[in-house]
């Protein structure tokens, strides 16, 4: 057993995932190098960074699709790299794909039922029970109305919902969400956030890759920032997003200015409230 695996056993339930010195090389390019962080159990970890910074690669390493060139990901005392891809979900890790992969010729309900049949508790479920579970999940994500339609008919937001429902059908403890909000409009983003909060409230640890800062800030308990395959920051959302380093590498100076002016508006609003409170007295 490796050192990290041992520490996972010792640490018990506090940490869901240990990511240790993970590096991933494609040909001459290191898509990831020396990335280390822990994901606490019950956290909502926001994973952000510019395009090509290695977020999806890291997702692929954590979900066992890629075997890292260096380092390891340890979950529940086991190295993910030692587990075949199809067995990763049986450990309790599920993911969605940024480029959605529905089973186009199956109905929406069948798509989710396949997850319920072969996921973590699939062995205990009959076909009928899997379909019932699928229906529950579809109601949860708001797809019950199209349950009988072929998955190829779904709109983009609905395909994202389907991805989430399929991942949830695996009964995960840790759910990796790769840009499930990309391409959604403002009200759809709010719905998606509500859904994620509900999932999180059931005790599922979330790792959320997203470009939409508003969404990330509102849901994350902590944030990790990647740039050019390296971790450049980690911590509470407010601290990370105000770090000059992160602003320079990812958010840009315009974002920083907007935040400052927002803070100014906020100060004025507070002052006004205070005045009103004084008046009332």
């Amino acid at each position: 057993m490796t050192a990290a695996a041992e520490s996972a056993t010792v640490a018990g339930d506090a940490v869901a995932l240990h990511i240790r010195d993970v590096g991933m090389r494609f040909g001459g390019l290191w898509a990831l190098s020396g990335v280390s962080f822990d994901v606490p159990r019950g956290a909502v970890l926001g994973l952000i960074g510019p395009n090509g910074s290695g977020k999806t690669t890291l997702m692929n390493v954590v979900s066992g699709v890629y075997r890292p060139t260096t380092g390891e990901v340890v979950y529940g005392g086991r190295r993910i790299a030692d587990v075949p891809t199809h067995a990763v979900c049986h450990l309790g890790i599920a993911r969605t794909f940024q480029v959605v992969k529905p089973f186009a010729n199956l109905t929406v309900r069948e798509n989710v039922a396949v997850g319920a049949m072969y996921g973590r508790y699939g062995a205990k479920r009959s076909t009928r029970a899997s379909f019932e579970r699928a229906q529950e999940l579809l109601e949860g994500v708001g797809l019950a109305r199209v349950a009988e339609r072929p998955a190829s008919d779904l709109t983009i937001p609905d395909r994202k919902r389907l991805e989430v429902a399929k991942a949830l059908a695996l009964d995960p403890d840790v759910l990796l969400l790769d840009e499930v909000m990309a391409g959604l409009n403002a009200s759809e983003v709010d719905e998606a956030l509500e859904l994620l909060r509900a999932v999180h409230a059931r005790g599922v640890t979330l790792i959320v890759v997203e470009h939409l800062m508003k969404a990330i800030v509102s849901i994350s308990t902590s944030i990790v920032v990647l740039a050019e395959g390296k971790k450049i920051a980690e911590g509470a959302p407010a601290d990370v997003l105000s770090s000059p380093h992160v602003i320079e590498a990812y958010l840009g100076s315009r974002w920083a200015k907007r935040q400052q002016s927002l803070t100014a508006i906020e100060r004025e609003r507070l002052a006004a409230e205070r005045l009103r409170a004084d008046d009332a007295r």
């Binding site: 699709v65 891809t85 067995a87 794909f97 529905p102 186009a104 049949m117 996921g119 072929p150």
Partner: protein, 335 residues
């Protein structure tokens, strides 16, 4: 926002009837199977052979449908299983075993083992590479048989046959093999196993992430496919009375089941039978009507069906709205 984009053939796709295909089509197929039970009562030796061949091709088409239609691995080597099944019967017969049931059971066991063994390396290949590899297996096995004296080499094996009064036993046996393949397909498709096959066909990577051990299920699909095909071969051998490599590993036996499945409706429980009846039947009729030019008509017919019914004949059962919907749908497929 909640609006679901409607395309002209949406309705048709849904009425394809999900994973087993249109239920009306399947019911019609079962009725046709029941009627086929009466064929030997006509005491017409020629017709009996024609319909026995239809049933044989149906069983082989169901076999191909399971790996090619449901699992999405287009095999060009299924004739190998037919040949191996026929040779199981031949070898048993040469050793004094004259039991049809024994032929079929041994052929199924041997074929399942053979498919699993060959599948382990071959089913790791995807797409065209898998097709080419399976084609190679078929050719290799035929060559091996042709050079093995124990299997009669190129001069083949004569099998002892039932006497004339009991000759219909081969017809009924083939009927049972076809029915078994058909019902197995129907129930497998509705089971967890069937959903694993289809998930692999639709997207193997996504299937793996949902917990499906793709290699294992592909091997299961191919083994069942081999059992169906091999059972047909094991009945064919004694029914024909003689087997040699050119009969049992014939290119026809390789291509026909594929064409039948595609014409009837790929990935459905009714399609292979419908395709087998139509193609084998038409082939027979055309052969009698145009002794020299029947292949021309036969080929043209296949081209026409593929053009006009891109999703197979089963699809006709799901058509609602008549000729107009059908025309619109065709345009949609062209687009």
């Amino acid at each position: 926002m909640r609006h679901v984009r409607a395309r002209p053939f949406d309705k048709l796709r849904v009425t394809l009837g999900g994973i087993t295909g249109n239920p009306v089509a399947f019911a019609c197929v079962l009725v046709a199977m029941a009627l086929l039970l009466f064929v030997p009562l006509g005491h017409n030796g020629y017709l009996e052979i024609v319909f026995r061949n239809i049933l044989m091709y149906a069983a082989m088409a169901y076999g191909w449908n399971l790996i090619g239609g449901y699992t999405g691995y287009v095999s060009f080597g299924n004739v190998t299983f037919f040949g191996v099944g026929a040779y199981c019967a031949g070898v048993l017969s040469a050793h004094g075993v004259q039991n049809l049931l024994a032929y079929v059971l041994v052929a199924m066991v041997v074929n399942a083992a053979f498919a699993a063994l060959v599948g382990l390396p071959v089913l790791r290949l995807r797409g065209h590479y898998f097709g080419i590899a399976t084609l190679g297996i078929g050719l290799a096995v035929a060559d091996i048989v042709e050079n093995l004296d124990a299997l009669g080499a190129s001069s083949g094996i004569h099998l002892e046959q039932a006497d004339e009064a009991h000759f219909s036993i081969y017809y009924y046996a083939m009927w049972l093999v076809a029915l078994g393949a058909m019902l197995a397909t129907f129930f497998i498709a509705r089971s967890k196993l069937g959903y694993a096959f289809v998930a692999i066909r639709e997207n193997e990577d996504a299937a793996a992430v949902l917990g499906i051990a793709a290699t294992r299920y592909k091997i299961i699909a191919w083994a069942i496919s081999a059992m169906m095909t091999g059972a047909a071969g094991a009945v064919f051998a004694p029914a024909n009375g003689f087997i040699d490599p050119s009969i049992t590993f014939a290119i026809d036996s390789n291509v026909f089941p594929i064409a039948m499945t595609i014409l009837g409706g790929i990935g459905t429980a009714a399609g292979p039978f419908i395709g087998a009846v139509l193609l084998a039947g038409a082939n027979e009729v055309l052969q009698n009507a145009f002794v020299n030019s029947h292949t021309l008509f036969f080929g043209s017919m296949i081209v026409l069906i593929v053009l006009l019914l891109p999703r197979g004949l089963v699809w006709v059962f799901g058509l609602r709205g008549g000729a107009r919907t059908w025309l619109k749908t065709l345009t949609a497929f062209r687009a």
